[in-house]
């Protein structure tokens, strides 16, 4: 039986009932990323679909408040009318999970704290999440934060809610920061670099004063399927660097970037439309969405360590993978067949400097059998369990998902 409260009072009542009966619920906003995380075994789903809509949008204040199930696509349309956008470039992962595109919601984006290519320069969802109202797993309404960016009044519970996958509290209203959309976007491409050399090129660009805000490397087997002809038709690997901002500045910075990167290989430059297409496909993990049979991992590591990491993984078998965030993020697709989805060898390959591997897509049987999120040392795991209990002592919200 599904629950779909229409307002905060109904939500409080639904949770009070769940608490009385000790009957946990699966919390669902748009459901586009339902298959991300450990499968949840509960009788009831609690859908937030009725808590949708933009409540406040003040472009001159760079702030927007909306219900949890407000479609990101609707938010992005409203922002575009005022030449604004979300800085964290939230991915549309519906297609990765076989769901419809543009089905993601605001609460889903925040709760999974996923950032797109601009994460490198502008932060993740967590960095643009200003305040919220919620009902905790205790069935109590509370709020935190506010509607202004500069705010240190009380604990920053926004950081905790971002990336908590609905396991702490159910948000009924979220306030986020919006930013001006760039006047112009261009991308400089470098062709034919092997991984290590590509990361050097990305690093050189990121160390230059050209304010690069997208830095990815696509090995040849990923690049070949790109819908952008300059990338798909390159016949080799493609390293991509994005520059955004005011027109004259973008042109000047692109030229300087080309001068800087000429020593690495042949260059090309993408203008607005092609740039947009390329970065959107990387944002949405499109190369893996189109191969539903692959097991998908997302690795967050120190940027310079990633070529070694991927070489270690490839030593164990074929992999479809690319680098984003200057090397700090690796998307990885592995063929099915390994009983643990490759967990043991992927996690063993993580660099000594730390980082983590998240199993983004796999059959439920695998996600039930191995930790989807990077296992934490015992002291940290115990602390996290106490934090979870401080919001949801009985464990009625998305039990086991993390």
């Amino acid at each position: 039986m599904d629950l779909a409260p229409a307002d905060r009072q109904e939500l409080e009542a639904a949770l009070a009932d769940a608490l009385d009966r000790r009957a946990p619920v699966e919390v669902m906003s748009g459901g586009s990323k339902r298959a991300l995380g450990r499968p949840i075994q509960v009788e009831r789903r609690l859908s937030l679909e009725k808590l949708a809509g933009i409540g406040l949008y003040e472009p001159e204040e760079l702030v927007l408040t909306a219900g949890p199930a407000t479609k990101l696509a609707a938010i992005e349309r409203s922002l575009a009318e005022h030449r604004q956008q979300l800085a964290f470039e939230p991915p549309d992962l519906g297609p990765l999970y076989g769901e419809a595109p543009a089905s993601g919601t605001l609460a889903g984006a925040i709760s999974c704290n996923l950032g797109g290519p601009r994460r490198l320069a502008s932060g993740a969802a967590r960095d643009h999440f200003l305040g919220f109202q919620a009902v905790s797993g205790r069935g109590e309404s509370f709020k935190a934060g506010g509607r202004v960016v500069k705010n240190v009044t009380g604990y920053d519970l926004m950081k905790l809610m971002a990336g908590s996958y609905g396991t702490l509290a159910i948000m009924t209203e979220l306030t986020i920061r919006t930013v001006p959309a760039p006047e112009k976007t261009r991308t400089v491409l470098v062709f034919g670099l092997e991984d290590g050399r590509a990361i050097e090129a990305l690093t050189a660009a990121l160390h230059s004063p050209n304010e690069v805000n997208g830095a990815a490397h696509l090995p040849a087997n990923v690049a070949k399927d790109s819908a952008v002809s300059y990338v798909g038709g390159a016949g080799t690997s493609v390293t991509a660097l994005r520059i955004e901002g005011f027109g004259p500045s973008v042109e000047a910075r692109c030229q300087r970037l080309r001068d800087l990167l000429a020593r690495f290989g042949a260059l090309e430059e993408l203008h607005g439309m092609n740039s947009g297409k390329l970065w959107q496909s990387l944002r949405d993990a499109a190369p893996l969405a189109s191969r539903p049979e692959l097991i998908v991992w997302r690795l967050s590591v120190a940027a310079a360590a990633s070529p070694t990491l991927l070489a270690r993984i490839r030593a164990g078998g074929p992999a479809l993978a690319w680098y984003d965030w200057g090397g700090g993020l690796v998307w990885l697709g592995l063929p099915p067949g390994e009983s643990d989805g490759g967990a043991a060898r992927v996690r063993a390959a993580l660099p000594e400097t730390g980082g983590h591997a998240t199993l983004m897509r796999a059959p439920a049987s695998i996600r039930a059998a191995i930790p989807v999120f990077q296992p934490r040392p015992p002291a940290l795991a115990a602390l996290e369990a106490r934090v979870k209990a401080s919001f949801d002592p009985v464990g009625i919200l998305n039990p086991g998902r993390m």
């Binding site: 202004v148 519970l157 926004m158 959309a181 004063p209 590591v301």
Partner: protein
């Protein structure tokens, strides 16, 4: 200002507690002598003072863990301290507590250019990090005005901002990892050199938690390439409204300046008398707008902002044409606090943040309050992000003036909350704004925050008396019984 009543049992065991700490630390790492304790009795909110039982100055993580475990076992409260530059009393000692100073953990551990980060001990100053990477063309972006003295550990505790955080973010947006010692001596590592947390974002929670959740013993921060150039505009306006309007128009045009600072007439006059920065004296407000980045971009934006300023009715408009001139524009703003310090024996620096468009209204209401309380007020703002720093001038030796100044400050913050803003933008709640938390949060909001505190420190030993106006016991917060979002507990200590 009421602090939790000292535990007489702990005070009676002072000698024992000191002996236990002596077993853990060399003699030069433990301060117990009354004269030597004096410098630790307050932080930069110096109207409130208290000498602690002792000050421990551990030299490494193991010693921090040993001291905390010892205090935890003995039921002794702990107040962490960086450089003691907090403006909200975050490091105010407790009579029955031990101060743990991180000053001896003052080394940069690693500079990692390929990963654009620095691993450092908490006692390194904010500016020390930037200086260490400056020759390679990098810097650490958050720049609180106390940056020559304040430490990165303190910055993490307070989530410090600064003039440039409009464009580059606060501490929380620039910290990648931390090693944290919990009150029982457990050491945990949060984050690292990678960008996304693996589980709950406890690093984000820890940042700005004002020393109530754990003691930071190592920090990994992101470093950025220094902007190639910076130029500034000095704009004068006949009214506060016109200056506020100019700020709104710049933001609406999609421009994010490196810094955008506003000063009102009393502040302008105070700094002109002090440093002769060349500010116009016939205007109601000045705005300093700094644009940084590649030269082409900066020149382009200078043109755009000049035009916007003219449209907004600027009566003075100067553009810096040299680094020297840019620094001269800033000289007045940077000396605003000492300049005000010259014209009054004491001042309170408030720190509310408001939605930008409410600035003229808030300024008008602050003017009315100044009349009501018969105290002078000078205003400096981080205008780009709506963060106000009203300076209330008073003489702390006059108890009536002190009382009026406290009430004036509280009223200003109430106005900030009323117009949709918050109590503190970057200075922290500490003891200063603790009793105003109820203006912004309900009992249920605060109870949830305190439950999070309980997850880290069930005994309430870490920096108690700060941030929360009522000290709830964790066991009682854990009970599941609430009606209408309110938790009446008349028996609890309220300050």
């Amino acid at each position: 200002m009421l602090m939790p009543a000292p535990d007489q049992g702990v005070l009676a065991r002072r000698g024992e507690i000191i002996e236990a700490l002596r077993a853990l630390l060399p003699p030069d790492c433990l301060v117990v002598d009354e004269t030597a304790l004096k410098p630790y009795e307050c932080d930069a909110l110096s109207v409130y003072r208290q000498v602690p039982i002792a000050v421990a100055l551990p030299r490494n993580t193991a010693e921090v863990a040993a001291v905390l475990a010892c205090c935890h076992a003995a039921g002794v409260k702990v107040v962490p301290r960086g450089a003691g530059t907090s403006l909200s009393g975050g490091a105010l000692p407790l009579a029955d507590g031990v101060v743990v100073g991180l000053a001896k953990l003052n080394k940069i551990l690693e500079i990692d250019y390929p990963n654009r980060c620095v691993v450092t001990q908490p006692g390194v100053t904010n500016l020390g990090i930037s200086n260490a990477v400056s020759a390679a063309g990098f810097y650490y972006a958050p720049d609180p005005s106390s940056q020559i003295a304040c430490t990165i550990g303190g910055n993490v505790a307070e989530n410090s901002g600064g003039v440039h955080c409009l464009k580059y973010g606060l501490t929380t947006n620039n910290v990648l990892g931390a090693e944290v010692v919990l009150i029982d001596g457990t050491v945990v590592r949060l984050g690292g050199k990678h960008l996304d947390p693996g589980g709950y974002d406890l690093l984000g929670l820890m940042t700005g938690s004002e020393g109530l959740l754990g003691v930071v013993t190592e920090v990994t921060v992101r470093i950025l390439r220094k902007p190639e150039t910076a130029r500034a505009l000095l704009l004068g306006f006949a009214t506060n409204e016109a200056a506020g309007d100019c700020v709104a128009r710049i933001i609406s045009a999609g421009i994010v300046p490196g810094g955008m600072e506003m000063m009102d007439r009393p502040a302008i006059h105070a700094v002109e008398d002090f440093v002769h920065a060349g500010y116009p004296l016939d205007v109601a407000a000045i705005l300093i707008v700094e644009l940084d980045g590649p030269p082409v971009e900066v020149d382009h934006l200078i043109g755009l902002v000049s035009k916007i300023a003219a449209d907004a009715g600027a009566v003075t408009s100067r553009i810096s044409n040299s680094e020297e001139e840019r620094l001269r524009f800033w000289a007045g703003r940077k000396s605003a606090f000492p300049a005000v310090g010259r014209i009054a024996p004491d001042y309170f620096c408030m720190d509310g943040t408001i939605p930008r468009r409410t600035l003229p209204e808030v300024l008008r209401r602050m003017g009315e309050l100044a009349q009501k309380y018969q105290l002078a007020l000078a205003n400096v703002f981080h205008a780009g992000d709506g963060n106000l720093h009203p300076l209330i001038l008073f003489d702390g030796n006059d108890p009536d003036q002190l009382r009026r100044a406290e009430e004036f400050g509280a009223d200003i913050l109430r106005v900030c909350v009323e117009v949709g803003g918050v109590l503190t933008g970057e200075h922290g709640v500490g003891v200063e704004k603790r009793d105003l938390m109820g203006e912004m949060f309900s009992e249920a909001d605060l109870a949830q925050q305190q439950r999070v505190k309980c997850a880290f420190d069930a005994g309430g030993l870490l920096n108690p008396g700060k941030v929360f106006p009522v000290l709830h016991r964790c066991a009682e917060l854990g009970q599941m019984r609430v009606t209408g979002g309110r938790l009446p507990h008349p028996d609890l200590p309220r300050f």
